[in-house]
């Protein structure tokens, strides 16, 4: 595969454990010790109750397709290399994630069960994507 030209995540001190786990092909989320909520994306404090008592927990990687679009014409030149499926997945644990769905567009149905796939887009970077379960 040739060079990767799309934007890559730059981990922050808050999110570094998340991206480290993703590189190991493990999906982890913060769980709030104050109110019990699972949190995505990683936050400095729980956005529900502002507790700073957050623990990383491994999660199932299973969820449902909440919505999607097939981007035929991208707003960014980096994504001009062909249609892609941008999606919002609702994890079984609750939070929603912005992601890509790896599937032929004709098969997509909102509500369909999906499961995580880890896409090693560069030797140093892995993205969290989903496919039909």
């Amino acid at each position: 595969m040739s060079e990767y030209h799309k934007p890559l995540p730059k981990p922050s001190p808050v999110s570094a454990p998340y991206w480290d786990a993703v590189r190991r092909h493990e999906l982890i989320l913060q769980k709030c010790g104050g109110c019990g909520a699972f949190i995505y994306y990683p936050r400095p404090r729980c956005p529900q109750c502002l507790s700073e008592n957050l623990e990383w927990r491994s999660v199932s990687g299973r969820g449902k397709l909440y919505s999607y679009t097939v981007v035929r014409r991208a707003s960014s030149r980096a994504f001009a290399d062909g249609p892609y499926v941008l999606a919002i997945v609702e994890l079984d644990e609750g939070p929603r994630m912005t992601t890509n769905l790896i599937v032929e567009p004709e098969r997509i149905k909102i509500g369909m069960p999906v499961t995580v796939v880890f896409d090693d887009v560069t030797p140093e970077h892995t993205l969290v994507k989903f496919k039909p379960a």
Binding site: S12, S67, F79, Y84, L86, R96, N100, I110
Partner: protein
């Protein structure tokens, strides 16, 4: 404190959007022209302007922007600020101006936006969390988010592509009567919209705003200043604002927007009912935006936006006049001037200056400003008093 009747819009200026950036234009240059025209329209002098709310142009951004812009324009304000709530900024300026006037901080506020459809030599920075968790997956720009809202709305409520297209079609009828509309030269049919290129499923090219260059300005003034204005004042009698997300992924719902609490507050403050409203000016970056706005602002039941627009005539002469300037879909989106176009049209109609598209006896207008991906919402109710 309520803002009801604390201030009125007394002067407007609006440029016809250019599809390309004019070669020798600058955002500050456009603001200069708009400032002179708005002050003349209100019948004031430059020295009367003592408040300044401005949108930061993408073509020439910078920190500590308001003082620089005010210096260029030769304005010495008692209150100055950038309003930075995306496309809701212009509507947000109107109530902020009224609040400052009501608090006695100033008496005539210039609310102004202008931009060019090209990047300047400095880029506006994107917030880190968006770069980290959205951009790598291609959630860049506004199209994708609204497409996901539209797909979810179709899934939950059975909304059809034809119903969404009808918004663009009816608003084009209005644009044909607006000499300032950039896309106001030929009629549009539902078949035309559905035959236009699919950009982001399910949104077609003609359901998506076109970026343009241009700008507009509104002067909001105290009752004392409004008394000596040239135009009949358009009084602000209700306002509400709300935000509950930035990326649409983290909104509580894709189809229930923060417009609901914003509109509730505006109607409560105004003490009027939905049925009293003579025209609506909802932000229309996309066709789906209008359906969701009409639902959440309470003009129809949740989920019934599709059937509602199909059953009503949204033209200036119809039974539910909506975006009588053509909406941004036909007027064009000159940066934040797109959001201001709804505000300006509401004021213009109440002043009785709608010319070939005047809504008969227009006395009450509902305006909604929408920023980001339905993230920031500002609802306004404006009134012409007999």
């Amino acid at each position: 404190m309520s803002l009801k009747g604390k201030a009125a819009a007394i002067g407007i200026a609006e440029l016809k959007p250019w599809k390309e950036a004019p070669p020798n234009a600058t955002p500050l240059g456009l603001m200069g022209r708009l400032t002179a025209e708005a002050i003349a329209d209100a019948g004031l002098e430059k020295k009367d302007i003592d408040g300044f709310l401005v949108g930061m142009p993408v073509a020439d951004p910078g920190f500590i922007y308001p003082a620089s812009a005010a210096e260029v324009l030769g304005i010495n304000p008692r209150m100055l600020n950038v309003v930075d709530i995306g496309g809701a900024s212009p509507a947000g300026m109107i109530w902020r101006a009224a609040a400052a006037i009501g608090a006695g901080m100033c008496s005539a506020v210039l609310c102004i936006v202008a931009d060019l459809n090209r990047l300047g030599d400095q880029k506006v920075p994107v917030v880190s969390v968006q770069r980290e968790f959205e951009a790598p997956y291609g959630n860049i720009g506004a199209n994708c988010g609204y497409a996901m809202i539209a797909n979810r709305h179709m899934y939950e409520y059975g909304t059809t592509p034809e119903q969404m297209a009808k918004v663009a079609v009816d608003q084009r009828k209005n644009a044909l009567k607006n000499p300032l509309a950039a896309f106001g030269d030929k009629p549009l049919t539902i078949a035309d919209v559905l035959a236009s290129r699919m950009i982001v499923d399910p949104l077609h090219l003609f359901e998506i705003v076109s970026p343009c260059s241009g700008g507009s300005a509104v002067i909001v003034a105290s009752p004392e200043v409004a008394r000596r204005a040239k135009n009949p004042p358009a009084w602000l009698i209700g306002a509400g604002e709300y935000s509950n997300h930035a990326s649409i992924t983290y909104a509580p719902s894709l189809t229930d927007s923060p417009i609901k609490p914003a509109a509730e507050n505006a109607f409560k403050m105004a003490g009027v009912e939905r049925k009293d409203i003579d025209l609506v000016c909802p932000y229309d970056c996309y066709t789906i935006t209008v359906l969701v706005t009409l639902e959440d602002a309470g003009f129809c039941k949740k989920g019934q936006g599709g059937p509602f627009v199909a059953e009503h005539d949204l033209s200036y002469a119809g039974d539910f006049p909506c975006n009588t300037h053509g909406g941004q879909l036909s007027f064009g989106q000159p940066g934040l001037g797109g959001g201001m176009s709804h505000v300006v049209e509401g004021i213009r109609q109440l002043m009785g200056r709608g010319e070939g598209r005047q809504v008969k006896d227009a006395a009450l207008a509902y305006v909604n400003g929408n920023g980001g991906i339905m993230s920031e919402q500002v609802s306004l109710i404006l009134e012409r008093r007999a």
